[in-house]
């Protein structure tokens, strides 16, 4: 796939060296086009082999599953672009579901109070992790590993690992149900996607995230407060985990300290499959959206095909690593352009 050197964009000044801009842009898109093609292929294959895959119910169910991964994945995409990592998503979501249920019932805050408390605390523990990373240069893997353990432990400790029922009211029924026929969680996911894609692309804050992950020293020299960027990023993923936890609790009708186990790995896998470099500096929300779709469709298909549930993990693992290998191959070719 390389690029023909004649292919310079009309109207823009041609660079004296051979590698053309059109080629770079196309190569960047290749990952996304490839993913899209893979998803279409999965639809064709599963549509013809897995009975019920194309049914409306199953499609809506997949949207709901996608939301559980996707909402947090938008934030984690930006965290990874900034050169950091957040592995606390699963326990953070579980703990949030417990918080909202306890808040709305045992702690007497009411439904809205429970939701507000959960969102505020999510923001707070995220900001705390970000502060540890920015102020004390604690590796973000460790800071969020700590969070992973603390939040997971708290969720189980507060509930003795038993589900905490949510009050059965209109608010939670709406959050756990549908609006205009679409799952509420999916709508939230899509709205947040638009917000995050806009922020990443069109705000100075979003561009500062890319600069921080691409060359932190250069970003600092250019007057970007990289510490503040990081705190904001981790606070955001904390908030997104809280939102996911609330929606999950509403859907299940209860908060559960053991929910969403392993979600953090699905989230990171979706981001990386979407073409975001783990080393930072490069990635896109659109890629992550496709990565989320890819993972969701595979998980759903494996269930419908009746693959043994233990063996599903094996298949998913192989597919995820394979998808990332393809990405690495593509970005290596990119780098080759640089050194030639």
């Amino acid at each position: 796939m390389t690029t023909s050197s004649q292919q310079t964009q009309p109207g823009t000044a041609a660079s004296p060296s051979a590698s053309p801009s059109a080629g770079t842009a196309r190569r960047r898109r290749l990952n996304e086009i490839g993913l899209l093609a893979a998803i279409v292929l999965l639809y064709v294959v599963l549509g013809s082999t897995a009975s019920g895959f194309l049914s409306l119910d199953n499609q809506l169910g997949m949207l709901r599953d996608a939301a559980t991964i996707g909402i947090a994945a938008w934030g984690v995409t930006l965290v990874i672009i900034a050169g950091e990592i957040d592995i606390s998503i699963g326990p953070a979501v579980a703990f949030s579901s417990v918080l909202v249920a306890k808040g709305a019932t045992a702690w007497g805050l009411g439904s809205w109070g429970g939701i507000a408390l959960t969102l505020a605390l999510g923001l707070a523990w995220g900001a705390l992790a970000g502060w540890l990373v920015a102020r004390f240069t604690v590796p973000s893997f460790i800071a969020t590993l700590g969070l992973w353990s603390v939040l997971g432990g708290l969720g189980l400790y507060l509930t003795d690992a038993l589900p905490v029922a949510l009050p059965d009211n209109g608010l939670f029924r709406t959050l756990g149900g549908t609006v205009l026929g679409l799952p509420t969680s999916a709508l939230v996911m899509l709205v947040l996607f638009a917000v995050f894609a806009y922020v990443a692309r069109y705000t100075a804050y979003g561009r500062s995230i890319y600069a921080t992950g691409g060359n932190a020293a250069a970003a600092r020299l250019a007057g970007i407060n990289t510490g503040r960027v990081k705190i904001a990023l981790f606070a955001t993923t904390g908030l997104l985990s809280a939102i996911t936890g609330i929606l999950l609790a509403a859907r299940l009708g209860s908060g559960n300290g053991g929910a969403a186990a392993g979600l953090e790995f699905d989230v990171i896998a979706a981001v990386v499959i979407g073409g975001t470099l783990l080393a930072g500096g490069r990635g896109s929300l659109l890629g992550t959206l496709l990565g989320v779709a890819f993972i969701t469709v595979i998980a759903n298909g494996l269930v419908l095909l009746g693959v043994d549930s233990f063996f599903q993990n094996v298949v998913r693992g192989v597919i995820i690593v394979g998808a990332v290998l393809v990405n690495v191959a593509i970005s290596n070719r990119d780098r080759a352009v640089r050194t030639v």
Binding site: A13, S15, A219, V337, R338
Partner: protein, 505 residues
């Protein structure tokens, strides 16, 4: 130039002392609008310190710095920038996966209605490039640009804010010869717009092409300013050295048997982009110095010989036998050992002891059966510590507890442990004190006397006469001159590494 010309920047009788060093001892500097002034001097002559004063990074101990007639005082970088000083430092500071335009406006992206105004940014970037007559697509990712183009983007960023004074710190040191011209063109054009350009470089040939005059610094003072056009290499070298001679402490010359097959033989080695074609022979018992400026391709040459970066073409022969595909492993087996330039990052393993740092080149030699034997490690390390006189409390002391010089000896010891006979030493005395330098010279001489061949690369040219039997000068990817015996003088080497013409006298 007339008195009416504006003094764009001025430093009068500036002094600056850092702990233990008198970096500036009364430097005077004046530059007018539209002038390109080259700043020249050996390492430590005070060039960087003078730049730091002009750009507000540091405040002088005494003396006065004025930008466009206004005293800078202790206003710092921000004040200097307000007064119109812009500095482009040596290290590239671009964000690779952002576009050229975004890098041009890094951290100060133009906004309209709260969102980044890509259209306006692209337009402004195009305008900046058009003014410099540069053809770089503002939408390209920086990562896909060549090094030269990246350097041009850095310079464009430097002039984006319409500075009155532009300081360029060795803008071409990382570039290949054919790329330099692009940078020089842009510098001329910037000066043509009335910007005063301070151009720090060691490359006399490009200085002659781009600068109006040359200010030579020595020992923290500005020694003299001469018109670039008529400056001869001899004159400049004379000013840089200030009559200092280097004849002292030449090692006793030993006769090297050059009729025997060379230990190492390089023929027409090509390593793009820096090394165009290099041939050389290294004999047993010989210390061969390779002198060259920053960016001349010194490290690239050694890395290619050691098998780290495969050469594009050319032959590498060890003791007369051609090495078909030189890999790092193959070259190590053949007795080639490289000590890298960046000791901290590539030389030592910081968390390990001196002993393990040395024996890691060959664990099998200190093993019993499948397991590394602590007593053998200890024996081997103790022997090396003694042989190299590494100053360490115990062989297993963490290597980071040692001084730079002793760390370097340990890194050399690593190759002795592997039985290397061909030692490629890349800047072995960088960052070590004077006494340790002398010890390393002595060690290198001893190793050669014991039959090793040593390639000794150094940018501190004055040390080459102290340690080498023969010196070649690398410039523009080729060997431009060779000196042996009494011809190994600092003047000769300096002239040969700085200017192409001096070879042909």
């Amino acid at each position: 130039m007339t008195d009416n010309d504006v003094l764009a920047a001025q430093a009068s009788n500036v002094t600056k002392e850092y702990p233990g060093v008198r970096a500036l001892a009364g430097a005077d500097f004046e530059i007018r609008a539209g002038e390109v002034r080259a700043l020249l001097g050996r390492n430590g002559a005070g060039k960087s310190t003078l730049i730091r004063m002009l750009s507000g990074v540091d405040v002088p101990d005494s003396g006065d710095v004025r930008i466009g007639g206004t005293p800078l005082g202790d206003g710092g970088v921000r004040r200097a920038a307000e007064l119109g000083v812009s500095t482009v430092y040596q290290e590239l500071s671009l964000v690779p996966w952002m576009t050229v335009a975004e890098n041009l406006f890094l951290g100060a992206w133009p906004r309209r209605g709260g969102r980044v105004d890509y259209e306006g940014m692209r337009r402004e970037a195009s305008a900046v490039f058009a003014e410099l007559d540069l053809r770089i697509d503002p939408d390209r990712m920086v990562a896909t640009l060549s090094l030269a183009e990246q350097q041009l983007v850095e310079i464009a960023r430097g002039v984006r804010g319409q500075p009155g004074v532009l300081i360029l710190d060795e803008p071409t040191s990382a570039l290949a010869v054919n790329e330099v011209e692009m940078v020089l063109d842009v510098v001329r054009r910037i000066a043509g717009r009335g910007v005063a350009v301070v151009y720090v470089s060691h490359r006399l040939d490009e200085i002659r092409q781009v600068a109006h005059s040359i200010t030579v610094m020595r020992d923290g003072r500005t020694v003299e300013t001469v018109p670039a056009r008529d400056a001869t290499t001899e004159q400049i070298v004379g000013l840089m050295l200030g009559g200092e001679t280097s004849a002292a402490e030449r090692p006793a010359t030993r006769t090297i048997d050059r009729t025997r097959t060379p230990l190492l033989s390089i023929r027409d080695l090509v390593v793009p982009p820096k090394i165009e074609s290099v041939s050389l022979d290294l004999h047993a018992g010989e210390v061969l110095g390779i002198g060259g400026l920053l960016g001349a391709g010194r490290s690239e040459l050694l890395r290619a010989i050691a098998g780290f970066d495969p050469p594009h073409s050319g032959a590498v022969e060890v003791e007369g036998r051609r090495v078909d595909r030189p890999s790092a492993r193959r070259m190590k087996e053949l007795g080639v050992g490289l000590t890298p330039e960046n000791r901290k990052a590539e030389g030592i393993v910081p968390l390990l002891g001196v002993d393990e740092n040395m024996v890691m080149s060959d664990f099998r030699a200190v093993s019993r059966g499948p397991a590394v034997s602590p007593s053998r490690v200890r024996a081997a390390a103790t022997a090396l510590v003694e042989r190299l006189s590494v100053k360490t409390a115990r062989p297993e002391t963490p290597i980071t507890n040692l001084s730079g010089g002793n760390q370097q000896k340990a890194v050399i010891g690593r190759w002795l442990h592997a039985g290397s006979r061909i030692l490629l030493l890349d800047e072995p005395t960088r960052g070590v004190d004077v006494e340790a330098k002398a010890q390393i010279y002595r060690l290198v001489r001893e190793l050669a006397a014991a039959g090793a061949g040593v390639l000794f690369v150094s940018g501190e040219l004055e040390e080459l006469p102290l340690v080498c039997d023969r010196v070649v000068a690398l410039h523009g990817g080729r060997i431009r001159a060779e000196f042996s015996g009494p011809d190994i003088t600092l003047d000769n080497i300096l002239a040969a590494t700085m200017a192409v013409e001096s070879v042909e006298h």
